[in-house]
Subunit: 216 residues, 3 copies
């Protein structure tokens, strides 16, 4: 039997969306590791190379979102509302986008040295992305048992608060110490974008909480 | 009869969401008063103390949003779609978040003196938050009579435009007068965040307009 | 027969929403032409006059959004879900808002000269707005044949990437050359807002893709 018949469209192939979303969260997690390496080096060439790799993951992410969208258009029965699955893809993509944007700024602005706490911030971001792995991995069990998903969302929010505090301390420091305004802007914008990535990770959690409420 | 039985979940306890949302808007209104005091003082200790109070209200706000979410999960029949009530809670929380963020920046950056028009801007913000009180207070009558709700949304939008004009004048002023770039950034970021709080208040109005359209 | 009877409300006057949305996209396209002229002049008086015209279009846009909203409230049967049509109006309005905001900043900050690539960026923005014309013009055919709409959305996204690259090069340039921090901020904020307008145009495309998925 041919696989792309009318009937194959009707069969509830719930399972095919989960692997796509998982490949997104895998991609994001790998990217957060590169991000952490990037804030730990001051070498211009290394920075360029790491940005190149991050940019490649971002392009890959775009392709995955496109694939998800095509699948949504070719499937009659989806595990959640089509627009929720699509929104989830877009939201996950935002995490990747903000990491790419942070990396791009490091290469564009070439801050001579980033504040030491930036490493701690990138570590929190990596932990956020690890939670996203877990969160996406739990999606198929979410309707039956939302407890795990809710717990991970709470952890994501706690990490986002932690990132916020780190960001606050970094800013206090640079405004107290930095006397060159352009250097201050360079650092501020990079750190801001890393913090925004943790915000976007938290937004994935918030979106999933809304989906949980919808199917409760 | 025990109150948390299966039947108690079925009973349309519409009323329980309104008090929660009202406690949110009360919290926001109180916060806007502290915000106004904060932009009127240049004393470092007073600034710290006011920020401490604002931060406490923001933490309280987070707890209320969490409570709202739990109630949504424990109630079968809700006055509006679950996701709309949840979105409303999140959107209200954004108003609080941006006030907290403005306050935080005042303490982080310690601008020596804020432009005098900042007080006018904080007053407009307080008026916005007063309108939010009225808006949330009208939610239970919204389905039967959306006129009042629509009028308040229009007023919120008008105030947001007013805030925008004030913000514009403040920026023109500081770009014309300020010669120290770091001081310019300090002021700009604080004022920007207060203006964003009025934007977020207007977004609550926009969201409610969408909910009105949905149930029209 | 009087036209505003109960029955006239029931008749599926799908057609009335399309002209309103088309007048929005016309307005946006005209605005993008003014924007392009604005970044090509350094004359203060011309800048003021062009901003005045852009601001007038933005006010007109607000009125159209208000009109759309009123029609949604007075019509029982709509071609798409009410909230989707409303969201589309809001999203289109965001494109206009960011152009107005970019224009305002040029007049507020009066950067002595904008980087030459800013013209290329404003040209890309104009192309985005031309695509929006086409996109809105295809809405009524979207349910039967989503192919054209999907293709335009893809083109919008490609243009947004192009705008992103231009923005990146402009920033690299100003951070490498500009030594006056306040001038750097002036330029950066203007360019940023033009780039945000292309982002917002792309967001219209993303929203329409979600609507397509919903009715697929």
């Amino acid at each position: 039997m041919k696989s792309n018949t009318f009937f194959s469209k009707l069969v509830p192939k719930e399972s095919k969306f989960y692997p796509i979303l998982r490949s997104m969260s895998d991609n994001i997690f790998v990217c957060s590791g590169l991000m952490l390496s990037l804030v730990q080096t001051e070498d211009k060439e290394q920075r360029k190379e790491l940005y190149r790799q991050i940019k490649a993951l971002e392009t890959k992410g775009d392709a995955i979102v496109g694939h998800l969208f095509d699948e949504l258009n070719n499937t009659f029965i989806t595990p959640f509302d089509r627009e929720d699955i699509n929104a989830l893809g877009e939201q996950l993509d935002n995490v990747l986008d903000s990491m790419n944007s942070a990396a791009k700024r490091i290469v564009m602005y070439q801050p001579s040295v980033l504040p030491p706490q930036t490493v701690a911030l990138a570590e929190v971001l990596q932990q956020c992305c690890e939670l996203l792995l877990g969160l996406v991995g739990e999606l198929n069990a979410m309707k039956k048992n939302p407890t795990v998903v809710k717990r991970i969302c709470k952890q994501l929010h706690a990490l986002e608060n932690q990132a916020d505090d780190l960001y606050e301390h970094i800013l206090i420091d640079i405004f107290a110490k930095e006397t060159n305004a352009i250097d201050l802007i360079r650092i501020k914008e990079v750190v801001q974008e890393i913090e925004r990535a943790t915000d976007n990770a938290d937004s994935v959690g918030k979106l999933i909480k809304v989906i949980v409420v919808k199917y409760a």
